[in-house]
Chain length 677, copies 2
């Protein structure tokens, strides 16, 4: 739901990231694959493999010597052989003094050349300096004439750099390569733009030339870390806990209410497959089939048009278990994240705290609270029970009416007049004037249009209730409980942005604040028709056992066995215990949700054939990796992402298809009227 | 290409499979999830986890005692915890005498009940006997009244069976469970057919009720083995050799000549995504992007209508490397298969032999020879240079004309008249009478319509050339080289079927005959227009280095750097070294293949930006697992396969979609004329 706030804020505070070693945060150099200042290239790679190699919570025994020897890529603690089967003996980044005298063959891209004497060669592993032999004219010609970003193979000896010429900033800075032979593997004919300019290019240009953008440190780091984390998740699930990795179809049929599903015409007239939004039905059917511990790194599809930071296809770590309850799923996931988390980050502390949906809404105004900082919402209705302020009176007199407030620490110090105007405008835009924010300054001179109507004892009570300090600022609003909370939840994050833009540290991006949010409502009133109900999540979610009786009397009050996993204010996963009783499932589908039961007859039938109790969860992998790497967008952790508008800017997908290729599928394009004229 | 012959033959010889321990081959019991004779259920599971646990080529040190202790699921050699996080303490199949006295909680399905005294409980791990307490009326009621296939939870003590009542055939046969409490987790209300009848049900019924079919031993075994093998492949690629697992998009644009690609309408009028047949372009672009060791367990899509043993979506182990040659890829794959192969099978012996395409065609009449048995094609043209037989004379006088033969050992003994008629008919049907088979009996009385025209010295020469023994039968044909070979290649397999149907062992299914086939032609004449060329595989395949000059003079003679991996006559993989030179790629696309280069402009541009030399391969996972498990069809190694006609018989996909749901995609159904009338 909504914009990933954490990511936006993250960019505001690059300085906060310097506590993380070996990993370039922010994006200053990501777009310059060939600029000369990339000596810390080694560092991040070194850091990447080191941090990923350590089983969580333990120390790695790194052998000194060559980098490749110290790369331990999984709990196997066996060194991956990066140069097996190929035409190099070593990677560019791994050579050290311990290799002195060794004959090596390297393959890489020409990073830059200095006065036709030195050449710096790059691969994914790092940079190495190559001495261009001045007396071997053929070799010299190759190495001096090949344009930057050309691919060459060089063979030679690892030698010491002359005294005084070592480069301590460069992991390979003590050595260089005395070349005996060289081969131009491919000349870089033309780059689509000057490399220097590339830094300033838009994301659109990066996406169009993704094959070049992938050469950047950040993309290499992100994609390699993603691969490693997923591998460790697989080890945890498959090897440690006996889960079975099962692939489920992506050519499926539309699900009830599946308005966001892509359709795929088949060769039968009028018959379409759909690309499922998740393997939900399949994983439940696997439980019925006795495959009682399922997982899949599942590709899912959602046609959401141009919602920011969404992709039409995305990946989730999809999990389902039989004979499990909420506690079991939570422990499993806590262990999974702890096991797979890169060890250069703060270790994942388990168990994660949990909070009910009602509490999250009342305290943070959202179902995905960022609990790294305070500024909690406080209900101050009681302070104003006897208020004379008209709009507060009005609010309290209505059903669910309330007065709420948040306290912004040092708000009067950091927030300027235009900030307050922007907050007011945001509140007005957001809440359509149904709720009205009020500003109070909590210093000696309370400062607000309504302050004169607030009695002294009310002020004292507010200071007590909200622990208001000098220079704090209070945002107050009145209205229906949920709306008032939701608005203050938004304002809380808005204000955090503003404070951080002023240099106040509120949300430490190195902190991992995991949180379970539980006890969601099972149903919500339909937006278009509030008299009817729709599933808050999906119709297979089991009701809270203690609320089952309410299903037949006040279904809108039933809480569900759904749970969300939140990390620093981002929803990174969600799941539930499912309904395994066919009669209950039928009642909810047919009677409460008024869905066409026929579309799900196979599932209802399956539940009647000895379906075990079961539950599961799905983690959004793209978002999770985004948070782990500190990438500003999920597009930075996906090799070939689509643009905001769902386009592949590199290949130009989607594209026109000639009518004759549509014929076998019995469809034709229905051109919009306005383009026909 | 064509029908997976191995699989057909496999079913003919269940007796050959008895050498494989712990794994039920054939299908006699696969369709009876609840029949009472499934005591070897334990065995296969035991075997499965044991065989998968051993690193190839080494012996596993299994600890005695409980099965769960001896389950070592990967090279980690750490026991997976099958009962972590869930409401059981143990699986049904793991209990032994060593557990005597333990308090256990089990969850499972009621397999059967004997006289309301015993109940056999089943989970994926095996069966266990539960004693129904006669004096606890509540517990007794639950356990006696729950229908078969209901799900129950029982808690109790592991006790010895009374002397004489042990069941040595049952791994848990020494113990039983003295139940203290029981809970009916879900009653099996109705099964869609009588379990007894299920055995005889068609595959269509199995697919319709897949959630029940998955409970069968065979499906559990196949899917669990698949998961384990893929996990070991990942360990090999990712942990041992530094490959990066990268997900590539499945919403792409159509590729030139991509007539078999599903189209997906987008929300832009007339613009469509395509589901790619493989990540070919993406993996090459990753190489350009410096991600020099890529792999992915990739979902691919091909709309082939109703070709047997194909699925509209399938999975391949997709691999690409930079700076590699054919030898490197071959070694990588040989190591991969050796590492991941289940250790209860014969170990994979490397390196695999290799054979040129020309040799495979000349000797076996196919590009995927089954080299487990002889009956090779012999060119006997020279024997008949001076023949008086008219049709042989005619054949030899034509370009590429030849006379070929295969020798069927003991053919006269095993092949009956009707077999010969059926072979003749097959040959006539297959070759459209362009080539004519001739039957000779190689015993004292040569027996064939044309035998009188064959001179004695010709007979002697044939016997010498083809090493004909008494009672052998020779199949002879004359015609253009390729056609003659292709026909005899088919007849060779036909005859092998016939001989094996008579009980002759020709193709040992436990034998693993891997074979590399290399040096394919780069181009083939187009079927519809033989004057033009098309790629034999795909347009990115690099030409053989020694044939490059022919590209500009006689392109049809150019051999490619493509290679296929064949196992027992099945193509299980294929790949190539790719073109990394933009000019060469452009020449082949535009000049030789006359493709629209614009559709691939991004790839051509990428090649010009410093593309490293690279190559790769894709293994067909479904087919591979099929061969490893001995399953008769790839539908038996896929959890939710489509039918022959591409239908999901369980959910009824593809399905109708209301016109209003098509509107956002700007398409409408074009109903065929004949249904409009």
């Amino acid at each position: 739901m909504g914009i990933p706030r954490f990511l936006r804020h993250f960019c505001v505070f690059p300085k906060l990231t310097t506590t993380i070693q070996h990993q370039p945060r922010g994006i200053p150099e990501r777009l310059s694959p060939s600029c000369g200042s990339n000596m810390h290239f080694h560092n991040w790679l070194n850091g990447l493999y080191q941090c990923l190699s350590k089983p969580s919570g333990r120390t790695t025994q790194l052998t000194c010597g060559s980098l490749s020897r110290s790369l331990v890529l999984s709990s196997h603690r066996r060194n991956p052989e990066f140069s097996s089967f190929v035409a190099r003996t070593n990677t560019c980044g791994e050579l050290r003094s311990s290799h002195l005298g060794q004959e090596v063959t390297l393959c890489g891209w020409i990073q830059y050349r200095r006065q036709n004497i030195f050449l710096v060669l790059r691969d994914f592993h790092g940079l190495v300096q190559v001495v261009i032999p001045q007396d071997e004219s053929a070799v010299k010609k190759i190495l001096c004439e090949a344009p930057v970003e050309s691919v060459v193979q060089v063979s030679g000896t690892v030698i010491s750099r002359p005294p005084g010429q070592e480069n301590p900033k460069m992991p390979t800075g003590e050595i260089e390569i005395k070349v005996k032979s060289a081969k131009l593997l491919n000349s870089c004919k033309k780059l689509p733009f000057e490399i220097k300019d590339f830094v300033k290019k838009t994301e659109a240009l990066r996406l169009k030339y993704r094959f070049l953008d992938l050469r950047s440190f950040q993309m290499q780091y992100n994609l390699r870390l993603r691969s490693q984390m997923v591998m460790k998740m697989r080890e945890y699930l498959c090897n440690l806990h006996g889960f079975v990795d099962i692939e489920t179809p992506t050519l499926f049929k539309r699900t009830p209410g599946g308005a966001k599903e892509f359709v795929i015409p088949s060769r039968e007239p009028g018959k379409f497959y759909s690309l499922p939004q998740s393997p939900q039905q399949f994983k439940q059917l696997l439980m019925v089939g006795g495959l009682d511990r399922y997982f899949q790194v599942a590709r899912c599809y959602r046609d959401e048009g141009s919602r920011p930071d969404r992709q039409p296809e995305f990946t989730q770590i999809d999990i389902e278990m039989s004979f499990v309850d909420q506690t079991g799923i939570r422990s499993l996931i806590e262990g999974l994240l702890q096991y797979s988390w890169p060890s250069d980050k703060d270790p994942v502390v388990v168990p994660f705290p949990s909070m009910t949906f009602a509490e999250a809404l009342a305290t943070y105004g959202t179902d995905k609270p960022d609990i790294r900082f305070g500024m909690k919402i406080v209900d101050i209705s009681d302070v104003f029970r006897n208020t004379e302020v008209k709009f507060l009176q009005d609010a309290l007199s209505k059903p669910e009416g309330s007065i709420k407030a948040i306290c912004i620490p040092d708000g009067t110090k950091y927030l300027k007049k235009k900030d307050i105007e922007s907050i007011t405008k945001f509140a007005t835009d957001y809440s359509d004037q149904e709720v009205l924010p009020v500003f109070l300054k909590a210093n000696r001179n309370w400062n607000s249009p309504v302050v004169k109507f607030i009695k002294d004892e009310q002020k004292l009570e507010l200071i007590r209730l909200m622990e208001i300090q000098e220079e704090d600022m209070v945002l107050l609003t009145a209205g229906e409980h949920k709306k008032a909370c939701a608005l203050l939840g938004k304002l809380r994050l808005e204000c955090a942005d503003l404070l951080e833009a002023r240099g106040v540290l509120l949300r430490d991006p190195t902190l991992l604040s995991f949180l379970w949010v539980v006890d969601f409502p099972l149903f919500l009133p339909k937006e278009e028709n509030p008299g009817e109900l729709e599933s808050a999540h999906h119709p297979f979610t089991a009701p809270h056992t203690s609320d089952i009786h309410l299903l037949y009397t006040e279904p809108e009050k039933v809480r569900s066995q759904h749970y969300d996993l939140v990390l620093n204010g981002n929803e990174i996963g969600g799941g539930s215990i499912r309904i395994h009783d066919a009669k209950l499932q039928h009642y909810i589908l047919a009677t409460l949700l008024k869905e066409d039961v026929k579309l799900l007859s196979h599932l209802l039938q399956a539940l009647d054939c000895g379906a075990p109790p079961h539950g599961g969860i799905a983690l959004g992998l793209d978002r999770l990796i985004c948070l782990v790497t500190g990438a500003p967008s999920i597009r930075d952790v996906i090799a070939f992402p689509k643009s905001f508008r769902g386009h592949d800017l590199m290949s130009n997908a989607p594209d026109s298809v000639p009518p004759e290729e549509l014929k076998p599928y019995h469809i034709q394009v229905l051109w919009p009227k306005d383009t026909e004229a």
